[in-house]
């Protein structure tokens, strides 16, 4: 009797093992990945996926490339801006570590044709090839204000540090409804973009005048490193057009600022490592 029970017990165990093996080998979801021989092989599969995701960043050009090879594509269509100013470095009388482009929606030029869809607002471009590193669909700041932000990784340096063009898109209002800004963002995290691609649209609230301060703040920063740098990425011709639209904002506490993307920069505000400079384009 005992021997029979023992045999049944062993058969049950055997059946359990067989069942486990069959499930392991033939369940469709498992068939895709297969069985890894050893835990290290299984971990390697996951690391391979991580490598696939980091690969585009390792192919970015060196930041020094942009010292001479400038982009003829600005971040917006320059005629869309009503005013602006360059990055004002720490050595300026009134520093501001970011360049601005401002918009005026007096008379509601946007949305174009009065049709309220994102494509009818001012487009925002990638001025360079790169990879979208981060997207903030809504960022709360100040006194009940919400912006949306995009980080475009476009270069690296010899140490492997990644350089990012940061866009802070600031309609200067509280987000009208949950996820409202999401419709204005046309890229997603880790997406590769090409120079000239539209990455987002600038939401301009109805009848917002210049005084409301609708703008895009943009600068260069390095990933995981404190500090901002002047976005000196554009050809002189583009910077000149940008300068021509500053409309009275292009001064440093009364001192006129010449054609440039960075003014009175400390050495660490110069992305090209050429030290402190008064003007950088």
């Amino acid at each position: 009797m005992l021997k029979r029970k023992d045999t049944i017990k062993r058969k049950k165990i055997g059946l359990l093992i067989l069942l486990s093996i069959i499930v392991s080998l033939f369940v469709p979801s498992l068939g895709r990945s297969g069985i890894s021989f050893g835990i290290i092989k299984a971990i390697e599969k996951k690391i391979d996926k991580l490598r696939e995701r980091t690969e585009p960043y390792s192919n970015l050009p060196d930041i020094s490339t942009f010292k001479t090879q400038k982009s003829d594509q600005f971040i917006i269509d320059i005629p869309d801006m009503c005013s602006g100013f360059p990055f004002k470095g720490r050595r300026a009388k009134k520093p501001h570590q970011g360049a601005h482009v401002h918009f005026d929606n007096t008379g509601d030029p946007w949305p174009k044709g009065g049709v309220d869809k994102p494509e009818n607002y001012p487009p925002i471009y990638a001025p360079l090839d790169g990879v979208i590193l981060r997207v903030d669909y809504s960022f709360h700041y100040g006194d009940n204000l919400d912006s949306y932000c995009i980080d475009l990784a476009f270069a690296k340096d010899s140490s492997g540090s990644i350089y990012i063009l940061h866009y802070s898109i600031e309609p200067m209002i509280a987000e009208p409804s949950t996820n409202f800004y999401r419709q204005f963002i046309f890229i997603s995290k880790e997406q590769e973009v090409k120079k000239g691609d539209i990455i987002a649209y600038m939401y301009t609230p109805p009848s917002s005048s210049t005084a409301s301060g609708i703008h895009i703040h943009f600068h260069i920063k390095r990933m995981n490193v404190e500090g901002f740098m002047a976005p000196a990425l554009f050809t002189y011709a583009v910077v000149k057009k940008f300068h021509d639209r500053w409309n009275g904002f292009g001064d440093d506490d009364g001192d006129p600022i010449p054609v440039c993307m960075g003014y009175k920069l400390d050495a660490d505000e110069n992305p090209f490592g050429t030290g402190a400079v008064d003007e950088l384009w």
């Binding site: 062993r10 067989l18 050893g38 690391i47 995701r53 390792s58 590193l133």
Partner: protein, 156 residues
Amino acid sequence: MNKFLLVIITFLLVGPLTTPIVIADNLDNRIGIGLGNPYFGIKYGLSSKFSIEGRGAFGSGIFAGGARIYYNFNPEYRTVIFVGGEGDYVSFDVDDVEGIGFVAYGFIGGEYFITRRFTFNLDIGPAYIFVRENQFDFNEKGLEWVFNLGINYYFK
């Protein structure tokens, strides 16, 4: 490959069950060392039913270290069938991808006593793996099915 594994597993686990040769006697209070594909472990029998093991697995630029616990269904048989769980801390630095992670692995398997001291063991099961790389803070996670093979040597 999978069918090949099926044949081996079936042969090693189900075959010996039909031959009740008592050789493993009791796993209680026995210490053993293990080597496998590729791992190094030290195993200890807490009782006849429960064993624990510390394990370190190495690959090129990858380390996974942690502990296992086994429940032995039939510790007195030549083939001891077990189920268990494993938790591992993972660190890696492979081709500029550097980071950390963890593994939680549930398994079923068997330990075949070739002699009283020398055994062959295998297990199979789902492993939940989470890895995060440092530079971009990217992570990957999910289930992978893992098959382990190894040998153990018991000191007493």
